[in-house]
């Protein structure tokens, strides 16, 4: 018998929060029991809850927490192929495999995501321009489909279902396990270089000359206007070559000692992040870095997961939560759309506390997968309510006009028409989904909002 408990669920942005009946299976038989216990309100998997908006939420529906379905099933040390259950996290993979010289092929800015979530959102990382997305390293998925059949799909068997599951936001079925190929590394160290970029044009210059770095990302100041618009700190790196050795040093040791205390245990007050504090933060962050570039060897943790060191950092935004807006636009010679976006933000007075910018590579997986060739910009906004929603609508129009799109894994507010303009493959994707789930067993609030599944618009 499946156990359900009534509780509120939310994503990493803590907006929105919705009630659901939540189950937490620990065994395959319990997954099957929960599936058998489904009703007309639908069913959805929820991993570590690091999608920001409502992708992993289902108001009044049945939601299955997958975190305890976390068994690693097989690993081939010759090739790096790992078969594991969907609730295994990137953190689990790092803990197990970094000491043995393997690394996840792609990682987002937090290690607290499950591989199921990684495939459902087709996540990307700092190496997108070289290695594409998570799904480009996954060859097979075991999926509990709406009929109750467990289907193992890959490029040969049910390729359409496999493709629709990539970036499919968990709406094609419940992922049970997958096969992902890890990449070999020599050490936990990263050869890193940071470059202070003075404005948007400079960012593109530095980005262009970073071709021999496998990992690039840039923090961008979203407050400063005029000549310094788009200034920031560009970070580029690669897994260290065999002869390069790092040293954690005093800072590393201090961090390990402090780790248990780096937490935001309560909600921040609503005034904490305001126009002035955001401006000051951005100024200090920029000035802290000397002009020009700086080389170092760093541990992979601070390089990939700087914010993971502070648990519950999302609470600094207070009770109201926050929204993340991540867009991609095709590259334009004058970067017109990006400038328009930055101008719209600065003139709104609603600053983004933390923003990053990166050039994607050529890999575009179609369907609902987000990355496409172009430039991506990710912005965090405290939940200012209607004025913010109006600003994001304005940004949507700029993005659509440029032929770009926003990332569904971070979304909580996109309109269905805008979504359709951004993801022209949506109809074909939905046809595949409907074939496998004609009665709408798998649902999410995001899916209902955007017309991706039954029970919505």
């Amino acid at each position: 018998m499946a156990q359900w408990t009534e509780r509120e669920l939310w994503g990493w942005g803590r907006y929105p929060r919705v009630p659901a009946r939540v189950g937490r299976p620990e065994r395959r038989s319990e997954v099957m029991a929960a599936f058998a216990d489904r009703d007309a309100s639908g069913l959805l998997a929820h991993g570590l809850g690091r999608s920001y908006g409502d992708a992993a939420l289902l108001r009044d529906g049945k939601v299955l927490l997958t975190r305890r379905l976390d068994r690693m099933l097989a690993f081939d040390p010759e090739t790096g192929w790992l078969r594991c259950e969907a609730g295994v996290s990137i953190e689990d993979i790092l803990e197990t495999f970094v000491p043995r010289g393997w690394f996840p092929p792609v990682t987002p800015g937090t290690k607290f995501v499950t591989v199921g979530g990684a495939l459902a959102c087709d996540i990307h990382g700092k190496n997108h321009h070289v290695d594409g997305c998570w799904s480009n390293h996954v060859r097979r998925v075991e999926l509990l489909t709406a009929s109750g059949d467990v289907v193992i799909c890959d490029a040969q068997n049910e390729p359409e279902l496999f493709k629709a599951t990539v970036g499919g936001m968990g709406l094609t079925g419940l992922m049970l396990s997958m096969e992902v190929q890890l990449v070999p590394i020599h050490s936990p160290w990263i050869e890193m270089e940071s470059v202070r970029v003075e404005n948007l044009d400079h960012f593109f210059e530095v980005s262009a000359e970073s071709a021999d770095f496998t990992h690039t990302v840039s923090w961008i100041d979203c407050v400063t206007t005029g000549k310094g618009m788009g200034r920031g700190i560009f970070m580029r790196g690669r897994h260290a070559r065999p002869h390069i050795d790092g040293n954690e040093g005093v800072v590393g040791v201090a961090k390990d000692v402090l780790a248990p205390f780096l937490d935001v245990p309560v909600d921040g007050p609503s005034w904490l992040l305001n126009k002035a504090s955001i401006k000051t933060f951005n100024e200090v962050y920029f000035r802290r870095h000397p002009k020009g570039s700086h080389e170092s060897v760093v541990h992979f943790e601070p390089f990939f997961y700087p914010l993971d060191a502070i648990r519950n950092w999302n609470r600094i935004y207070g009770k109201r939560g926050f929204l993340q807006y991540q867009l991609v636009v095709p590259r334009e010679p004058d970067h017109r759309s990006l400038r328009a976006v930055l101008e719209a933000i600065t003139s709104s007075g609603m600053g983004s506390f933390l923003a990053v910018i990166k050039e994607f590579g050529a890999q575009d997986n179609g369907g609902l997968s987000f990355p496409m060739p172009g430039v991506t910009l990710a912005l965090d906004f405290a939940n200012y309510g209607d004025p913010l929603l109006a600003l994001l609508d304005r940004l949507d129009r700029i993005v659509v006009e440029a032929g770009g799109r926003v990332y569904l894994g971070k979304d909580a507010r996109l309109e269905p028409d805008t979504f359709r303009a951004m993801y022209p493959d949506w109809k074909a994707w939905r046809d595949v989904r409907d074939t496998w789930d004609p009665t709408g067993v798998f649902r999410s609030d995001l899916g209902r909002r955007l017309g991706l599944c039954m029970g919505g618009v």
Binding site: R24, E26, R27, S29, M72, L73, C84
Partner: protein, 244 residues
């Protein structure tokens, strides 16, 4: 070194198995749900690069118990640590209505445990070494109307382990009783409680460490020793009127 985990599909048992595999032990994962046990064994082998196998264990099938141990020892060598993590809380109301239900709860938690422990004790005493860890419950410390069928079986199991510890002490075999309070498992999932709930990871680490230090009786979380001390201290005259 070989660890045998009985009733291995619970989250706590799985996490205990992780700790022993991490320390380099070969692990045999035994449970009623063999398919699930195989997944857990695979996980131990991948994560810790140790040999891990799975097989069927049913506490009620007492005729098979010594055969299981022979099989484990043939495959992985002498069992150095055995973890008894199986149990069945049953349902108090159903146990009251049907003796068959009550008997199943008693047999899983007590009769079956005695059966497998005796088989293990015979092997371990012949070698003069080994550790048996019985995972019990604070429910076995005092009978209460809300779960006394389960509680009495766990209580009997606790008494049994006391006697076994007494008998095996001079034989070089250690017996530990682990009494768990609220741990965040299937049993407590969704339960509203003001008492802090421990994670299975923390509980398993505590059990692993205590077994190493040859602790006799472990309460985890440790404040449960005090809680149960108070509960045990209430005179029966007053206790019988309470709703706990």
């Amino acid at each position: 070194m070989t660890t045998l985990v009985l009733g291995a599909t619970s989250r706590i048992a799985q996490q205990i198995a992780q700790r022993y595999a991490e320390s380099g032990d070969k692990v045999f994962v035994a449970a009623r749900d063999v398919e699930e046990a195989e997944r857990i064994a695979a996980d131990l082998a991948v994560r810790h690069q140790v040999k891990a196998l799975a097989g069927r264990f049913d506490a009620l099938a007492t005729d098979d118990h010594s055969g299981l141990i022979d099989h484990v020892e043939a495959e992985l060598g002498p069992v150095t640590t055995a973890i008894l993590a199986f149990g069945d809380m049953g349902d108090q109301d159903r146990s009251q209505e049907s003796f068959a239900d009550a008997k199943r709860v008693i047999d899983v938690n007590y009769t079956g445990a005695v059966s497998i422990c005796e088989a293990l004790a015979a092997k371990m005493t012949s070698r003069g070494a080994g550790t048996i860890v019985g995972v019990g419950s604070v429910a076995g410390d005092r009978g209460r109307k809300s779960n006394y069928i389960y509680g009495s079986a766990k209580g009997a199991f606790g008494l049994y382990l006391q006697g076994l510890r007494n008998r095996l002490h001079s034989e070089g075999v250690h017996v530990m009783t682990a009494k768990l309070g609220f741990v965040d498992t299937r049993m407590t999932y969704g339960m509203a409680t003001k008492i802090p709930v421990a994670s299975p990871e923390a509980a398993s680490a505590a059990i692993f460490e205590a077994a190493r230090r040859r602790v006799d009786v472990l309460y985890y979380p440790s404040f449960w020793r005090a809680i149960m001390g108070v509960i045990k201290g209430i005179p029966e005259k007053a206790f019988k009127r309470l709703s706990l």
